[in-house]
Symmetry: C2
Subunit: 395 residues, 2 copies
């Protein structure tokens, strides 16, 4: 690709181009942060309005039945199940990734062994597991990146949040079975980007995020996948009523719901949950193999252009997810200057500029133009301005 | 009160009558279920729309800083703190009541002793505590109602979900200090209904619900109160990044945020959280002593009228909260028939019709008319119709 005309030709031939119309993206913005917070679909915005102004305002308490609020955790879960290769009843939507990771790792402690995580895993996953260890006394073990766990519970991101490296789920599950390790996959940077096949890989446990490629909205509820037979055996440690078999019997003894539904806990945040549920309908006709290939090409184009600017990506040799990081010692300020020019990515301390290539709403021309603007920012050195060097609470 | 004219005179003199205009209640409905799911304020509906169609759609990831999303758990917490007698930084909004109860009880296990709860406590509170016991091995003890705990962690609803009995917080805290018991108060049926004074009572730990009298929306996030010095000492077991001191440093080691803010965990559901935050502004000029007195009078009027229909409330002798239950062997069907006539209450298994008297949007005439309709339902026996005897998932 050597010109805008080249990439515009790709756009004309793009079988996924039609998905862009499902979004209402702000004019003048090229959004390379759908991997951090996906944008809303028009359907999700309409659904939020219908929930607030209709189901809540007029239906009031009746909407738990009449609008099907009570079914949403299972319904949205079934939609996610399709995207990760699970059966519809093996996925439930509830709580945040942190809380779900805690619940699932806690449920798996019964079989013994340490709680293990690689030292370069997403920090909050490490925090949660170490906290679980403090609470229960189960040993906590921080592994070197790439070190194989020897039994116990092991948490692993399928796509690494910085390098975008994709782990070999099939091979790791095969090794894990030999060592008696229970792997919990964190699918946050994978679900909705490419086809995940938990059943095919023999993966039995996973959590994932609703607000990245699934476009479920800021802080959208998270999901839990537990393979059906395993779910029946597990005792979920946060035994809230929404994970009980018959919450409205108001009996004193807890009886878990059948299967993965027991991984719900308290009352779910409905306004956020309807947004996710509606957002998931986008994937009804989406071929995620095509999405994966497009994300790869989008990022390759950007990497090529960045190379010409002296920026090299922090990538490993293997398959990768939908985002690319570039180290730059003034990465924070450069990203702020780029955002001021309408190209939105994010920054990951200490020095990484991170760009995400969500294939369902980005065009090839978007990415070409984003690279043009990055070139302008670096050429003019406008990132040196003081306003681009003041950090917000969220970087 | 012997006539509609009598109660209309009360409405004309009601200093809280002006709050009704903050709500947009459906025509023809008398809503006696604000204790289960509060209705939306107009301000909350506007805020949800602004968040979805503006902050998310146009601001995208930038809204974490620019729209102050990152501050919402503390900001909403500070608004709730005013209502329960806490300092602004002692309350944080996060997760569900179930998850918060787990976090707080888990954090308090370090000092030893059993996890105790009365056998007639709200079932999900019992489930969560028993689950925590299973996970940690801490002993679990189900006490007889009214039995004083002897040390350990004790969870107690300030207002009982059925009887509406209000516990004597001051006296129980005094006893608890002598026995070394840490009481976690569940303020779900109290916050926003009457002035709670945790500081005055010496209460150090509490959780509560956002969707009842606080009108935060279906499944609104919950709150956690921890007295300031206690918070500094406690290790929160679900150590997600939002409870970390500097989540965006992405360092491997968890350092808790100062004070009660460490009781946050994962990324909060923003659409649900903005609704709660906006709903809380209603209380800015509300005198909750007046609210308490009005709720009492509203319920007294209804109880009097119900007595004339042969219905006796299941009430104790002491002070009570904002709801009243009546046992009726066909309570489910009677409630459905009443709902069909536009009077919405709820049903609590096995046989209780529950009515809530939210003082900020109900009028005395509403309650009078609701009693008229209840009389009609009982007189005509229309609750015998088959459609009123088919149960939904949520009763």
């Amino acid at each position: 690709m050597t010109s805008l005309a080249d990439v515009e030709a790709l756009d004309r031939a793009d079988p996924l181009a039609r998905f862009r119309a499902a979004f209402d993206l702000p004019v003048g913005v090229i959004y390379l942060d759908g991997n951090s917070l996906g944008p809303p679909t028009r359907a999700a915005l309409a659904r939020i309005a219908a929930c607030a102004d209709g189901e809540w305002k007029d239906g009031l308490i009746r909407s738990w039945n009449d609008a099907g609020w009570i079914e949403l955790p299972r319904r949205a879960g079934a939609k996610i199940a399709r995207l990760i290769g699970a059966r519809p009843d093996e996925v439930i939507v509830a709580d945040s990734v942190s809380v779900n990771l805690f619940k699932l790792a806690g449920a798996l402690l019964g079989a013994g062994g340490a709680i293990c995580v690689e030292a370069d895993e997403f920090p909050t996953d490490q925090y949660v597991l170490e906290g679980l260890s403090r609470l229960t006394g189960a040993p906590f073990q921080r592994l070197a990146p790439g070190e194989a766990p020897a039994g116990g519970v092991f948490v692993k991101s399928l796509v690494h949040y910085k390098t975008a490296a994709v782990a070999d789920m099939l091979a790791m599950e095969a090794r894990a079975r030999k060592s008696g390790t229970r792997i919990i996959w964190d699918l946050s940077h994978a679900a909705g980007l490419f086809p995940v096949d938990v059943a095919g890989a023999g993966a039995r446990f996973a959590v994932g995020c609703g607000y990245k490629y699934l476009n479920g909205g800021p802080g959208a509820p998270s999901f839990v996948y537990v393979e059906g037979r395993e779910a029946e055996r597990l005792s979920q440690p946060i035994a809230g009523w929404m994970g009980a078999a018959r919450p409205f019997d108001f009996c004193t003894d807890y009886h878990p719901a059948a299967g993965s539904a027991r991984f719900a806990a308290g009352t779910p945040p409905i306004l956020s949950l309807v947004a996710l549920d509606a957002a998931l309908d986008l994937f009804e006709g989406a071929d995620l193999s095509l999405a994966q290939a497009k994300a790869r090409l989008l990022s390759d184009i950007f990497i090529d252009r960045a190379a010409a600017l002296g920026l090299a990506p922090t990538l490993g040799p293997g398959p990768r997810g939908g985002h690319v990081c570039f180290a730059h010692k003034e990465g924070y300020a450069v990203m702020q200057a780029l955002i001021a020019r309408g190209v939105i990515g994010d920054f990951r301390a200490p020095d990484l500029m991170r760009f995400g290539f969500s294939p369902l709403f980005l065009s090839y021309a978007d990415v070409w133009r984003a690279a043009d603007r990055l070139a302008d920012v670096l050429r003019t050195e406008e990132w040196r301005r003081p306003e681009f060097n003041r950090r917000g609470a969220v970087t």
